[in-house]
């Protein structure tokens, strides 16, 4: 894990003195994230909110791989989140899979869908890419709505409650919110570690090179198309994992998980926290959900507050909460 490949922009602009603390932050980013995640259920207003931050944070981390690091604005990532959730739920409820097998099964289905959508959509660029991902995600949504005999349609998928989990002789009450949180957190932590490894690998450097300048990356001899599809699939895999955790947590899969609103929410969270930074998406998910939770307590018109904050961020803090903090710290 070296700082030099963390971010091209950073290498080009950051004075050596600042690279020191940023390198340390990069080296410690996974343990730090896990520490914060461990504390979440105790500092947030409710455990249900903590689980949501965990799941949506992971979802945003997966999305950030594509949007933040590769620079591709997808408006259809709800499809992979939902596919993971539906596959996990169906795996448990219909195929009789144990809970721990449902997670890789959900990732497999979500990842395969992401691979297919990625193959099709990377043929386009810029705004057209956003539109294709949106259209394909809408197709997935309507397919789930129509095949109600399998998915439960508008009523959502039900009937796969996991009340108790058994593994290696351990038996954990999965209805207990705290225990459930820490079980789900283990999976999120492993995923974070893997994402961190990927970003620190040569592959991580290549996707950032594509974000900075696609033509140049191509000229350097990188297979841009292949890299894009890989980034898309990886991103979809992480989002699908978040989906499986969502299904295990709520024990239902609402049709809304596949909706365009969910896709939009992922974009908002990522941008709010800071696209292209490791901690940003989690900070964004935390800020978004907390804002919604708190504002909704004193006005049902929480959307106007969330929307205004979002506009202000696009206008004045496009790097998001975390990105701005980092830039501010680096600038001193």
């Amino acid at each position: 894990m070296t700082a030099s490949v963390h971010s091209i922009a950073e290498v080009m602009t950051g004075p050596t003195g600042h690279r020191g603390w940023r390198a340390r932050l990069t080296a410690w980013r996974v343990p730090l994230s896990i520490l914060v995640l461990c504390l979440l259920p105790w500092v947030l207003p409710s455990q249900a909110l903590a689980v949501n931050v965990l799941i949506y944070g992971l979802l945003a981390v997966g999305y950030n791989l594509l949007f933040g690091y590769t620079g591709m604005l997808s408006f259809g990532h709800a499809a992979f989140f939902g596919a993971g959730a539906y596959a996990a739920g169906l795996g448990i409820g219909q195929l009789g899979l144990p809970w721990y097998a449902a997670i890789p099964f959900g990732m497999l289905v979500g990842g395969a869908l992401a691979f297919a959508v990625g193959l099709l959509s990377i043929r386009t660029r810029g705004i057209y890419f956003s539109m294709v991902t949106l259209a394909l995600a809408q197709l997935v949504y309507y397919a789930a709505l129509q095949s109600s005999s399998i998915t439960g349609g508008e009523n959502g998928l039900r009937g796969f409650t996991v009340a108790r989990i058994e593994l290696f002789g351990w038996s954990v009450d999965f209805l207990d919110p705290v225990k459930k949180y820490y079980v789900l957190m283990v999976f999120a932590a492993v995923a974070l570690w893997l994402v961190s490894r990927v970003l620190a690998s040569p592959f991580g450097a290549v996707i950032e090179a594509i974000r900075e300048n696609e033509t140049r990356a191509r000229a350097c001899g990188y297979d841009v198309e292949r890299t894009k599809v890989m980034a898309f699939t990886l991103s979809g895999l992480v989002c699908a994992l978040a989906g499986t955790l969502f299904a295990l947590h709520l024990a239902i899969v609402p049709l809304d998980t596949l909706s365009i609103q969910t896709s939009g929410m992922i974009v908002m969270m990522t941008l709010l926290g800071g696209a292209g930074s490791f901690f940003g998406p989690f900070v964004g998910a935390l800020a978004f959900l907390l804002m919604e939770d708190v504002v909704a307590l004193w006005t049902p018109h929480w959307q106007i507050v969330v929307g205004t904050v979002f506009i202000l961020f696009v206008l004045f803090l496009p790097k998001g909460i975390w990105g701005t903090l980092i830039a501010w710290r680096a600038g001193r």
Partner: protein, 413 residues
């Protein structure tokens, strides 16, 4: 929330009350708590979204039910408190809010929901955790054995009984019926109910058209519906879909050719769309305040409601908040507290008349057996009082005859 701000204090007050109650219980010694602890009832409802007006009425009615009980000294000496949460008409949000109510607020029961998906989501959460849930949203699915929970009681009408009652008072032998159906569970349940009634009455179907849920434009279906030349056009959808499809059917002159029948007539919807489009439309309802002309319990409910909310009348979906919470509180009073098994036994043995004549929960599927109203929307000229847009065509009395049998739902006999 339409009239927006009025609901705001309710939510905030409840949040604060919940907070205060939380701190109070923490401070109290454990022994004392068991007897004097407030009875907390969670109430998830869509305060934001297209049914905010209905949700607001539900909250008001539910609060009234709680207030009336508290005024009489509560239940076994314990005060009752309602914890309102916004489920945003979203199943995931509803499940999360219900988890929060159970895990953090430690509620003794949950009442609420205003869509089939939300209702089934809450049902899943409460079933796994053994919490009593009184559901107040229309669905046939929740009656079926697959989704049955012994902790769940279904206070709302279901599509089957609603359509049975509406068809009984509108379909005639030999009539030709055309159906425009929203393509999702609720629409299909309504269609199934109407078609069963149609077969029993001896009417015939001249065609069924499915439309995507949430469609804003129905003009493309109208030429075909017109060509079917039906005596009755059954529009099997809900809420905004219903408002838009009725308006466009009227634009195409279909109301001149046939009679429009819908499963559920919503009071707020009718006020929102106006008298012209709805003139002559017939549909079912769980409650209409005009019941007071014949029913003392309806009169008592209306009077209490009007006294509490500066002369306003309770509405149909709003009344569910009252009947749902009232039945639960009656059962808790009978059980002498909040012991889950005792309250379930009390609910199963309960006969109550709080607003619309006698009701009871059927043993097998916990469906509330109750009267169904068949209403007709009046012409503008016949509506001197804005608050009185409907005429009661018939009141189908409470009877298991209009329900699917327990065996049909999959329950062992």
């Amino acid at each position: 929330m339409t009239k927006g701000l009025p609901t705001l204090p309710i939510t905030r007050r409840h949040a604060l009350a919940g907070l205060a109650a939380g701190t109070a219980t923490l401070a109290m010694p454990g022994l004392l708590r068991a007897q004097s602890e407030t009875i907390r009832i969670g109430f998830p409802t869509p305060l934001t979204g297209p049914y905010a007006a209905e949700a607001k009425d539900q909250v008001r009615s539910a609060e009234l039910a709680v207030k009336l009980v508290n005024d009489k000294g509560g239940i076994a000496g314990r005060k009752v408190e309602l914890l309102v949460r916004d489920d945003k008409l979203n199943a995931g949000e509803a499940a999360t809010r219900t988890l929060e109510l159970i895990e953090k607020e430690k509620v003794h029961a949950v009442v609420g929901s205003l869509s089939s998906a939300v209702q089934l989501a809450i049902n899943e959460v409460t079933r796994a955790r053994g919490v009593i849930f009184v559901s107040i949203s229309q669905s046939d699915t929740i009656n079926e054995v697959k989704d049955f929970s012994r902790f769940t009681f279904h206070e709302a009408l279901n599509p089957h009984m609603t359509t049975a009652a509406v068809a009984k008072h509108t379909f005639k032998p030999g009539m030709k019926i055309a159906y425009l159906v929203a393509d999702y569970a609720f629409g299909h349940e309504i269609l199934r109910g109407f078609k069963r009634a149609q077969a029993a009455i001896g009417a015939t179907s001249v065609g069924e058209i499915l439309h995507p849920i949430g469609a804003p434009d129905y003009s493309t279906f109208m030429p075909r519906l017109r060509a079917m030349k039906p005596d009755i056009l059954c529009i099997c959808n809900f809420g905004r879909d219903q408002a838009n499809s009725i308006k466009q059917a009227v634009d195409f002159g279909l109301n001149k050719q046939d009679r429009i029948v819908v499963p559920v007539l919503l009071y707020t919807q009718r006020l929102g769309i106006g008298a012209e489009a709805f003139e002559g439309v017939v549909g079912g309802a769980n409650y209409y305040w005009r019941l007071q002309d014949t029913l003392p319990s309806a009169k008592a409910f209306n009077d209490a409601y009007k006294a509490a909310y500066s002369g306003a009348y309770p509405t149909d979906y709003g009344a569910y908040g009252y009947t749902g919470v009232s039945s639960l509180l009656l059962a808790m009073a009978k059980a002498g507290g909040t012991d889950t098994d005792k309250v379930i036994a009390a609910l199963e043995g309960l006969t109550y008349d709080v607003a619309k004549g006698p009701q009871h929960y059927r043993k097998c599927d916990h469906q509330s057996v109750q009267s169904v109203l068949v209403l007709e929307s009046k012409a503008k000229a016949d509506t001197p009082e804005e608050a009185d847009p409907f005429r009661i065509l018939a009141v189908e009395p409470a009877s298991e005859d209009i329900l699917r049998s327990c065996a049909e739902l999959g329950f062992p006999s």
